[in-house]
């Protein structure tokens, strides 16, 4: 069988191209065997192990031992699965094979448990909170004049949503310029002082959020005598988020390739122009992600808000105008009230908060998506820190 035309010349002239022709007598092409894929025997064994475990678990929990209830069934199922993995491993090989199979089952089981926990968290929030979510007034009204046990057709969380947005805006207005400015200072200016700043900022990321709240409470409210307000809550969130955002931006700016800076400086740009036109645009997706993840963290924090904002039942848009509610605080106080409908409202508010955080998270992922072969943000965030470039 030859793939080439029959009239192959003995000494082909330069530039001749021979096209392959179809050989009708050739056997059909064999598909390549995939080396990485498990063989049918292996996959049947893997499924069979867990099918056997299911049967055993039913036998043990329903017929042999007094272990009623779904949790026990799941536990026994998993233990039986481990046992069956060991048995099937022993059928094939020695102790090494047994260990490999049991470890594989353990690892997979652990990951499945974590996934189940995440699904149960999100599912339970929506399961308990779906009813208020169906009423449009839940998003359009506040709780003024609405009792905790009133039906879901009255009242809503508009005041909490507005409060969360106002407080987050204050916190972002503080942390965005200061956080990114500090990161620029630490990476682009450098020097001994920058090292001190970096050490302190990294240390302050350990500050528990409640202590940040207590700081603003004792300074702003007790010592300076201002009332509890959205401004105080925004400041508390800002104090909490500032080290987080400064540190994350610092990590992002550090991995901007030094060659870009040097190229810009070599072309005669001043250092300011280099930062503004080269470093910051290069790091923009990373900076946006760092900021958004910081906001998501701030949106979910309850403890600083609990100490500083107070709780109003009506819409307050002016941050200096007395007490102001927010979503986490609304959830906390309603859960604490112990009333059935109030709890359901809390779950619905938790669903709203979850959706808000999820939306921020998705935006952050989209911004961080690698474009045209650029490494992803994760890779850049956690990449080994390159040696510091000092200009």
């Amino acid at each position: 069988m030859t793939l080439f035309q029959d009239e192959v010349e003995a000494t082909p002239t330069r530039g001749t191209t021979y096209l392959p022709v179809l050989d009708d007598d050739a056997p059909p092409a064999q598909p390549r065997t995939s080396l990485g894929r498990p063989s049918p025997e292996e996959s049947i064994l893997a499924w069979g192990t867990w099918a056997a475990a299911l049967g055993l678990a039913w036998l043990v929990t329903q017929r042999l031992l007094p272990l009623a209830g779904v949790p026990w069934f799941v536990v026994v199922f998993f233990v039986c699965g481990l046992l069956m993995s060991a048995v099937t491993g022993a059928m094939h090989g020695g102790l090494i094979e047994v260990r490999d199979r049991v470890a594989g089952s353990m690892v997979t089981g652990g990951a499945v448990l974590v996934g189940a926990a995440l699904v149960s968290t999100i599912g339970y929030i929506f399961y308990r909170g779906w009813e208020p979510l169906l009423h449009a007034n839940f998003f359009l009204e506040d709780m003024s004049g609405v009792g905790p046990s009133d039906p879901f057709t009255e009242g809503g969380v508009l005041h909490a949503i507005v409060g969360t947005i106002v407080q987050l805006s204050i916190a972002v207005a503080i942390t965005l310029p200061l956080g990114i400015g500090t990161a620029v200072f630490m990476t682009e200016v450098g020097g001994k002082f920058a090292k001190v700043v970096r050490t302190v900022v990294e240390a302050m990321t350990a500050l528990p959020s409640i202590v940040a709240g207590l700081f603003i409470y004792s300074v702003f409210i007790v010592a300076l005598g201002y009332p509890r307000s959205g401004l105080a809550a925004g400041l508390a969130l800002g104090v909490m988020m500032l080290p987080i955002i400064a540190r994350a931006s610092d990590v992002v700016l550090r991995v901007v390739p030094g060659g870009l800076r040097e190229a810009s400086l070599a072309l005669g740009a001043s250092r300011w122009k280099t930062v503004w036109h080269v470093v910051l645009p290069t790091a923009r997706p990373g900076l946006a992600t760092a900021l958004i993840l910081g906001i998501a963290r701030g949106a979910g924090e309850t403890s600083p808000v609990l100490l500083t904002s107070g709780a109003a039942a009506f819409v307050v848009a002016n941050p200096t105008d007395g007490v102001m509610n927010s979503l986490p605080l609304f959830i906390y106080t309603n859960v604490r009230s112990g009333q059935g409908t109030a709890e359901d409202r809390a779950f619905a508010a938790a669903a709203v908060l979850l959706i808000l955080v999820l939306a921020l998270f998705v935006v952050a992922r989209l911004l961080a998506r690698p474009r045209g072969g650029k490494p992803s943000l994760r890779a850049r965030l956690f990449a080994r820190r390159p040696p510091e470039v000092r200009s």
Binding site: T108, A111, T121, V201, M204, A206, L207, L242, S303, R384
Partner: protein
Amino acid sequence: MTTLPVHDDRGNLAVTPRKISRKATGADAVFEWSSRAIGASVLVITGGVGLFLGWQGYPTIKRYGFSFFTEEQWLPDEDRIGIAGVLAGTFSVAFVAMVIAFPLALLTALYISEYAPAGAKSFLVSMVDLMAAVPSIVYGIWGYFLIMPYAAELARWLESNAGWLPFLQVRGADPDAAYWDASRYYSSAFCAGIAVSMMVMPMACAVMRQVFSQTPPGEKEAALALGATRWGMIRSVVLPFGRGGIIGGTMLALGRALGETIAVALILSVAFEVKWNLLETGSSTISSLIANRFGEASASQLSALLAAGFVLFLITLLVNTAAAVIVNRSRSGAGTDA
């Protein structure tokens, strides 16, 4: 056109060499000094918080002396204030959280980096990040409403089967009674620890997975080529390589677990006592103490709360710094370009 250097009559260069200076001029100087000012202001703000806490807490520590660290009760009305009870509670909640979170984080990180199908990997990584972004109050109400009954059941089972361990005993409750008193098992450090473990697990998992994914592929392939099974390869290459990341990630999670407030304040019923009975109802942590007591606090009590907060901050700072040192020192994440 080429400009030739100008010489004077004696053949010396007429122009003096320009002065070379690294000092910024013009817009650069403005940029440098303004960014320095921003850095200084952030230093003042963040450093100020730490200094303020220490300064405000000092009178309390001076007033109560060493008994501030040994007194269990928090009774400002009787002038008995101490953090021994809440400190023990803080550590027992964090202990339970880490006992649950550490194996789960390790297994999940191993699954994502070594076992998961290649197509699902980035999705799973996003899921772990999403878990880290879920607000703590959400885990708090999840633990409070959904998990607590099961946790109480598990606590009773643990006590009746492993009650000879001192920290699994529940005083005043009989696990084998025909009608068991569930309220003795509710609102315990164990229940709070479960909710906190969900918060800190994704954090530890993300660090571990990151370190595992940096394992040099050459070493992994070498192990497989020598006939190691997948688990053999993990045990001999991935785990030793990632040891620093495992320890560091766990300690970062521990730092977060120590400072967690709202889920703990929601679940725990308050009790000031040094107790190691993890399954028994009632305990208190430093952060839940602050959340519960700041409202009615007078100036001196506020100072005491600030002192307690300062101690908490010092502990988390210590844990986080140790974690950073361990991660940076270990082989993980270094020299992995190959």
